[in-house]
Amino acid sequence: MPKCLVCYKWTLDEQDIKIKPEDLSLDASRAKGKISDFDRNAIEEAALLVEKNGGAVDALTYGTATVKQSLKDVLSRGPAKVYWIADASAESADAAVTANVLAAAIRKIGPYDLILCGEGSSDLFNQQTAARLSALLGIPCLTFLQKLSVEGAVVSATRKLEDGTEEVSVTAPVVVSVLSEINKPRIPTLKQVLGASKKPNEEIKLADLGLKPEDLVPKATRSSVKGFVMQRKNVIFKESSAADNVAKLKAGLASEGLI
C-alpha cells in the first residue's frame, strides 16, 4: 500500500509556439498550457500502481500563477489530492531551484514511499528533477524506467538505457523517473473529469517552506532563445527527365565530396 507522490510541471504546449520569421524569436502568445507530456506518464503510472496495490497518490506542482489551470486536469487523471505552489519565481527557476522547492514541499507534506517524475519536461527537458530530489531528500533514485512494480516495501523496476535494459530493486522510499513507453496515459472519462472538481487541492505558499533566499536564486539562466531554422542550399532538380535530374544530383554530391 504505497503512499505515492507524483511531481508534474505545467508547461506551454510547444506545438502552439511559433517561430517569427523576421527575427526567429518565439511567439507563445497563442500557446495553451498542458501537463508536461512525460509527467502524464508518471501520473498514470502512479494511478495504475495504486489501482493495483492500494495506497494513495497525491500530486505536487510548482509553477507560476497559471498552475491553477492544471488542477482539474491532474485530478481527473487519478491523484486524490493536489498540492500546488504558485509563485512568480517559477518563471525563471532552473532545475536546482525547482528541486529545492519540491524537496522542501515534500518534507512538509510527506513522507512518501514512492515519488514519481517524468523523464524530463517537454519544454526545457533538463532531466534533472528526479536525481536532484534523491540527493536533496537522501533517498535512492531509479531513473528512466520502462517497467515499475511494488511489492510490500520493495520497488522493482526495469531501466531502459542506451546499451540495453537493467533490472533494479530497492526498498522504499525512492524517487523514480519513468519513460513515456511505460504506459499510455488515460483519457479521463466524464466521471473522472467531474470527480476531479470534487477532489481537494491545497495551495502551499513558498514562504512557508522555510527556504533560504539563495535556494531560490537560479544558477542557470537562459538567454538569446531563437527558433531553430535550417539553412540549406535548396537546389532542387525538377526537369522532366529523371536521368538529367540524377546526373545533376550526382554532380552535386561530387562537389560536396560525398562520392
Partner: protein, 308 residues
C-alpha cells in the same frame, strides 16, 4: 586549486569529453581530472591530456551507484566545472552531483565556453523547436551527448593515473542486465544514411533503398511510420524526436515528407538530399539537393549512376 572534472562510463564518450575539457582548461587555466570506472579508461584519458586520471574501483556493478563517490572526488578537487557524458546514466549521476554540489547544470550542451565566471552552453528547448544560450554560474555541471565533439589527439605528455577504492550505493540491488539485442547497427555513427518513408508502397520495395545504400556505403534509416506502424525496419533505425538523432555527412531522404518530428532527428546532417514526388513537401525546404520525382524511377537511375 580548483579544477575541471570529466566523467563518462562510456569510454568513447569520455574521450570526446576531453575536447571541451581541454578548451576550458585553456581559458580557465585549471587542471583536468578524469574519473573512470576502469583502469584502461583512466589510462586512456590520461593519454589524451587529462592531468590526472582516477580509476574509481568498486565492488558494486551498478554504475549510477557511484554518484556519491563521484561527488566526493568533485568535492576533493574543488571542481569549478564538471563535464559528464550525456548517457541516461550519466545524466542521472550529473544531476545528483549537481544537487550535492548545490550547483547549476546544463543538459546536453552543444557548445561550451567560459565567460565572466559563467559556463555558457548552447542547447535546444521545446523538443528542438528552439536553441538558447544557457549561462551557469561556477561551479557548474554540464552533460554532453555522444558525438557532440570529436576525441582529441593524444597529448604530448600523459597525465598521472591513480586508483581509488570507493563505496557504491548499496541500497539498490542490480539484477539482470540485458544488452540490446539489435544487429549491432548503430545508425548514429554512420557517415551516410539513406532514410525511407511512406513513399515506399511495400516492404519489398525497400530493396531499392538498400541497393542505393550499398553503392553509397550508407546505412538504412527510416521514419516513425516505417518502424512503428509498418514494422518494416527495426526501431533502432527510426530517426526522429522520439527516435534516434543522427548527424551524418549525407542524409538522403527518400519518399518522406519531412515533418518536423522527423527532421529534429536529422537536421544537423551535413548535407541533406531529398527525393519526393510532391514538390511542395517540406523536406525540400530542409534539403540541400532534391529531385522532384517518383522514387521508383529515380532510385534505380541514381544507383546505376553512382555505380559508374
Amino acid at each position: 586549486m580548483p579544477g575541471i572534472i570529466i566523467f563518462s562510463e562510456d569510454s568513447m564518450l569520455a574521450a570526446q569529453l576531453m575536447t571541451p575539457a581541454l578548451e576550458l582548461k585553456q581559458s580557465l587555466n585549471q587542471p583536468i581530472t578524469a574519473l573512470a570506472l576502469s583502469e584502461a579508461d583512466a589510462k586512456a584519458l590520461a593519454a589524451l591530456g587529462a592531468d590526472h586520471a582516477v580509476f574509481l574501483q568498486s565492488a558494486g556493478k551498478w554504475v549510477d551507484g557511484c554518484a556519491e563517490a563521484i561527488f566526493a572526488q568533485v568535492n576533493k578537487a574543488a571542481a569549478s566545472i564538471v563535464l559528464i557524458g550525456g548517457t541516461l546514466r550519466g545524466k542521472t549521476i550529473a544531476a545528483y552531483v549537481a544537487a550535492r554540489m548545490n550547483a547549476g547544470m546544463t543538459t546536453d550542451a552543444k557548445t561550451l565556453k567560459v565567460e565572466n565566471g559563467k559556463l555558457l552552453a548552447t542547447r535546444v528547448l521545446y523538443a528542438g523547436l528552439a536553441l538558447c544560450e544557457e549561462a551557469v554560474v561556477l561551479p557548474a555541471v554540464a552533460t554532453i551527448r555522444s558525438r557532440t565533439f570529436l576525441a582529441p589527439p593524444a597529448a604530448a605528455t600523459p597525465g598521472t593515473v591513480e586508483s581509488v577504492t570507493v563505496e557504491t550505493d548499496a541500497r539498490v540491488t542490480l539484477g539482470a542486465v540485458s544488452p540490446t539485442g539489435d544487429t549491432g547497427v548503430d545508425i548514429t555513427t554512420a557517415g551516410k544514411l539513406v532514410a525511407v518513408g511512406r513513399g515506399f508502397r511495400k516492404k519489398e520495395d525497400l530493396k531499392l533503398a538498400e541497393e542505393l545504400a550499398a553503392v553509397l556505403k550508407a546505412e538504412l534509416a527510416c521514419t516513425r511510420g516505417i518502424a512503428e506502424d509498418e514494422h518494416w525496419l527495426p526501431i533502432a533505425r527510426y530517426v526522429g524526436i522520439s527516435g534516434q538523432t543522427v548527424k551524418p555527412d549525407l542524409y538522403l531522404a527518400v519518399g518522406l515528407s519531412g515533418q518536423v518530428q522527423h527532421m529534429v532527428g536529422c537536421r544537423e546532417s551535413k548535407v541533406i538530399v531529398a527525393v519526393n514526388t510532391d514538390e511542395r513537401a517540406p523536406i525540400f525546404e530542409a534539403a540541400d539537393y532534391g529531385i522532384v520525382g517518383d522514387l521508383y524511377e529515380v532510385l534505380p537511375l541514381l544507383t546505376a549512376a553512382l555505380r559508374k
